[in-house]
């Protein structure tokens, strides 16, 4: 057995790979602690995985951590040391918080289960990303891996060539602090959204902006690709993420763009300032598309490969993927369902497996729902909650699905807590809120009433392949991504432009569902009534992690207007 761990910088997670190289469990710490973005040592996730899979200590061959802790600790310090005296408090803070850095993984593991720390090893951070993406690709040799994130353990973007899974050569990297990911996060911060959480909002907002506006053009020029040196260059006069703990952008940026957004002010199309902030978001999105295109082109030039793995936090930017697929050399772009740091626990565990089986040359594609969950653990516990505040409408699985379909057809919203859970960040049906994707009223109710989200953020549509091909421009280069909702696509049929799940810019982040999945089964039942598209959003309130177990689901129902929950116990309705 091989365990992979990520944490300390972004959401922490644990992955478990068995001796056949199959991902058998995966868990984010935030799913259990209910603290969104929890980056502490994943003790609960580790306990859960060890208990659930009955793992004895001696069965664990390797525990692999997703970065080189000392490199990750020293790189920002080294950079900050050349910005004295401005960076003094930053340096002081970093040094004093030495014990909160990933260097503590060793001692935290020793405290968790003495002896386990002896099995701990550390791999290059971007290698962990690459190995996370690799099993999702059918082609597992002779391809190129591109990683772009905020900051790994030393670089902020890299290109590697995968001869086979034992020979992964890094060919290019971009040095910290010049980072596309940190640039985008700083703009996220300027726009009043929480960093590492609000980047999606910037992406959604950018569709309302105008690329030719003055502000978009200014933001566009804050970061560039140097065609001579082949490098990312951030104009650091306007940013301070590398020298300050609290501020990601400098006073110069405020002089340039005006006041940042007050995070408490509602942001609605038509409001004063809405256009200003949308234009800023537009500029950030435009330059992100350009720089990613430059990195892909350079990667093609130096590797001659037209198949790409793409991972790292910036790969979550689903809006940029279309631009990349349109590059004339691209054949395939493969993204893991969780390309960010939490997903990198999977690649770390795989490293242990690959090293232990030096002759093995292929890894099975992991399930889209790898987080083990069984209702048996909760069935008895929740009895009284359900008896007192809910009623089970049907315990029969098929009947529950039929009833759900009828409710969806009538315009109702249904929550799901079914079987194993997805890795996130996208809910793919097992921890989702769903409704009729062609019913404007239902989609608006789901988005703005149940989830309390800003109206400028689109909700994603889920459908069968045949429906997707009818309404949308499906790109063969991105085909895999549609199953994990990691790419957006343009509407093909003009009718689709009016679907409530279509964004203002005429795109949608579609999900193609497999026949045997819950959404697939629901769509089969719904088809005769003309509902071929479901709106699908994660089951969580904004700022909270996606629900994991049934108690979370029942809690969501209790504190939101949601009435129905489809569960392993059947279809449940909240009592009035």
């Amino acid at each position: 057995m091989f365990i992979g761990i990520s944490g300390y910088n972004h959401e922490s997670a644990v992955a478990l790979i068995n001796n056949e190289g199959i991902l058998i469990d995966y868990c984010k710490e935030e799913s259990l602690s209910r603290i969104k973005g929890d980056k502490s040592f994943p003790k609960r996730a580790l306990s859960k995985i060890i208990k659930k899979n009955h793992i004895k200590k001696d069965l664990i061959s390797h525990i692999v951590f997703y970065e080189k802790p000392l490199t990750a600790f020293l790189t920002p310090l080294k950079t900050a040391s050349s910005y004295l005296p401005k960076s003094l408090s930053f340096i002081s803070h970093q040094l004093r918080n030495f014990d909160n850095s990933s260097i503590s993984c060793f001692t935290d593991l020793a405290k968790f289960a003495p002896g386990l720390e002896k099995k701990l090893s550390y791999i290059d951070h971007h290698l962990a990303h690459t190995l996370t993406a690799l099993p999702y690709s059918r082609k597992q040799k002779d391809l190129c891996s591109i990683v772009v994130d905020g900051f790994g353990d030393r670089s902020t973007a890299s290109i590697s060539y995968i001869k086979d899974m034992h020979d992964i050569k890094e060919l290019w990297s971009s040095d910290y602090p010049h980072s596309l990911g940190l640039f985008y996060s700083s703009i996220t911060d300027f726009l009043g959204f929480n960093v590492n959480e609000g980047e999606y909002k910037v992406m959604g907002l950018s569709s309302f902006g105008n690329s030719n506006s003055k502000l978009a053009k200014i933001v566009f020029n804050l970061i560039k690709w140097d065609d001579v040196k082949n490098n990312i260059v951030v104009n650091l006069d306007y940013f301070s993420y590398h020298i300050s703990i609290s501020d990601s952008f400098s006073k110069e940026l405020i002089k340039l763009l005006g006041e940042p957004r007050n995070p408490f002010k509602k942001l609605q199309p038509g409001d004063k300032d809405f256009q200003k902030f949308a234009d800023i978001a537009r500029g950030a999105q435009d330059i992100t598309n350009v720089i990613l295109s430059k990195i892909f082109s350079y990667a093609y030039r130096i590797t001659n490969s037209n198949s790409f793995l793409f991972s790292g936090g910036v790969a979550l930017n689903s809006a940029a993927l279309n631009t990349l697929a349109d590059l004339n050399f691209t054949k395939d772009i493969i993204l893991p369902p969780s390309p960010g740091d939490s997903g990198a626990a999977i690649g770390s565990a795989l490293y242990g497996f690959i090293k232990s089986y030096p002759t093995n040359l292929s890894i099975k594609k992991p399930s889209l729902f790898p987080t083990a969950f069984s209702i048996d653990d909760e069935k008895d516990k929740v009895k009284k909650i359900i008896n007192e505040s809910f009623s089970i409408i049907s315990e029969n699985k098929f009947e529950s699905l039929k009833l759900c379909s009828e409710l969806i057809h009538k315009g109702k919203v249904i929550g799901t807590v079914i079987s194993n859970s997805e890795t996130g960040p996208r809910a793919l049906g097992n921890r989702s809120l769903i409704c009729d994707g062609m019913n404007l009223k239902s989609v608006n109710y789901l988005n703005t009433v149940i989830k309390n989200r800003s109206p400028f953020r689109p909700t994603a549509p889920a459908m069968k392949r045949i429906t997707a091909e009818k309404y949308y421009e499906i790109k063969s280069e991105l085909y895999q991504s549609y199953f994990s909702m990691t790419a957006t696509c343009k509407c093909r049929d003009p009718k689709a432009n009016n679907f409530p799940t279509t964004h203002i810019d005429g795109t949608a982040r579609i999900q193609i569902v497999e026949d045997e999945s819950i959404l697939g089964q629901l769509l089969d039942i719904l088809h005769p009534s003309g509902v071929d598209i479901l709106a699908n959003s994660s089951l969580n309130l904004s700022g909270d992690p996606t629900c994991f177990d049934l108690i979370d689901g029942l809690m969501f129902c209790s504190i939101s207007p949601l009435e129905y929950l489809l569960t392993d116990l059947g279809l449940i309705k909240k009592l009035a």
């Binding site: 502490s40 003790k43 080189k68 791999i123 992964i168 002010k265 108690i551």
Partner: protein, 230 residues
Amino acid sequence: MREEKIIEILHETLHAEHGSALEMLATSKNATKSSHVNGYFHHAKDEYNHSKTFQSLLAKRANRLPPDIARSYRFSSIGLLKKGYVSKKGFLIETMKLKDFIAYVYTNELLAKDSFSKILKLLEINSGDYIKVSDIMTDELRHHGMAKEYFLRYYPTLQPWQLKCYKLREIIKNKTRIIYYKNIKFLDKVFNPIYIFLSFFAALLLNHLNVKYFHRTNANLMNISSRSMF
């Protein structure tokens, strides 16, 4: 000035309420008896609703602040760990004995009620916000009653005076916590020049650090020693 003080209190209370919601949810999940699971579930639900109320109270006031000040009052649940509202060691139920935990809930609900009466004094009497906070106070009193009943049912040999002792202990603990944080802040101020001074020398050393060693261009990443932290 008064307005900013209110905002600061609302911001802290929001953390406290959200922290309680997560504590109670964890307790509900940790319980084995279905009735206990249900009891803590409903307590958690109340606390989530309190958290929501304080989020909206905070938003209503903070959206009038200048952006740079408003930004410092943003709420995210990760702040609970940073500010110590949820311990990095784990939830109370994961780190305390059950008996101590129940005593903790019992006394803290009472203390929560006290702190809400202080908030009420800052709000305009009978305004919408005033009524919302009074409703929360009623909830807290109910929680306190439930915890007391529960405590006496499962530990019947305990006498009311013992509960009073628990309360006193919690008050002292809370006070020392506040004094501790104030002291830390104070010591921080005192020692900051020394830290900065030391950091300056650290920075000079760091300047000589050769990061070329970190470069991996043309290296097979699979063959870098996985024992090394570099």
